[in-house]
């Protein structure tokens, strides 16, 4: 009897010590769920979700339970991935999804005012006061934040040129002849 109590309490204290050690040794800094949400977001820093950037939106989702359908650049796939990660129900996107594009500056109109440079969250526009502004295509995330500030409306969004690395199989047409086939009894 006594030896049993002794054995159990010995085991309990040993495991307790192990757990205590592990909680100190393998302590996780920060909130890992925020990091994982942030990784799913497209990092356009466009602010279309209503938060200042992707990280603040990730924090809002994790801490305040913000909606997961506010990210237009991410579109449906990001929303579904978020729902999956957070074990929430998928919800329809708040805004319509647009085809991804990049900003292009019309050089004949640009007056070098730097307003678009200040608006760009990812430093994708190269230029200075009274110098030509140019979009660095690789850096542009297509967030469209540079469009409204331009006083001469010289920035337009253009669809991303189709290249080998970005090519995907085109989707089948919407109204595939299923209904037609169904209506034709053999």
């Amino acid at each position: 009897m006594l030896s049993a109590i002794l054995a159990i309490s010995l085991l309990a204290s040993a495991f307790g010590a192990l757990l205590g050690f592990a909680s100190i040794r393998y302590r996780v800094e920060g909130d890992p769920i925020v990091e994982r949400i942030d990784q799913l977001l497209p990092q356009t820093q466009c602010g279309q979700c209503g938060y200042p950037g992707c990280k603040p939106y990730a924090e809002a989702i994790a801490r305040d339970g913000a909606a997961i359908n506010l990210c237009p650049p991410g579109g449906e796939s990001v929303m579904v991935a978020l729902a999956d990660l957070l074990d929430r129900d998928p919800v329809a996107l708040e805004q319509e999804q647009r085809a991804p594009g990049i900003a292009v500056i019309d050089e004949n109109i640009c007056i070098g005012c730097t307003l678009c440079i200040q608006a760009c969250p990812v430093d994708a526009i190269l230029g200075a006061a009274k110098q030509m502004h140019t979009v660095i295509a690789k850096e542009c995330t297509g967030c469209e934040l540079c469009l409204p500030p331009c006083p001469v409306d010289c920035i337009v969004m253009e669809p991303i040129p189709l290249e080998l690395e970005g090519w995907i199989w085109p989707e089948p047409p919407d109204s595939i002849e299923l209904s037609a086939a169904a209506e034709q009894p053999a």
């Binding site: 307003l115 200075a128 660095i136 409204p148």
Partner: protein
């Protein structure tokens, strides 16, 4: 040889843009970094003597000493004349849009 810093040298045309990373000695000036980067070989149309240069969207003097992670930028001149564009816009009766509003 003292410590080195990482900087970038960038140049952009509508059809091609390059951001070149390079490691330079502490105390390297803007002008030296542009020469070292090889951007002049890649884009022969840059007129090194007269081209305007700057750091992160602000024109800077050529003898400006670089700091870690600076993005040195070589600019191209404008095509449109800002004053002329403004005159045309006034004549067309368009409202001037101030920056920042949506």
């Amino acid at each position: 040889m003292g410590e080195t810093i990482m900087v970038e040298v960038a140049y952009a045309r509508p059809d091609e843009q390059r951001i070149l990373e390079l490691e330079v000695d502490q105390g390297t000036t803007l002008e030296q970094a542009v020469e070292l980067s090889g951007v002049l070989d890649r884009f022969p149309e840059i007129e090194f003597e007269s081209a305007k240069m700057g750091i992160f969207g602000k024109s800077a003097r050529r003898d400006r000493v670089l700091q870690e992670r600076d993005r040195v930028e070589v600019y191209r001149p404008l095509i449109a004349d800002p004053k002329e564009v403004r005159r045309q816009r006034v004549a067309a009766g368009k409202k001037m849009k101030k920056g920042g509003d949506t």
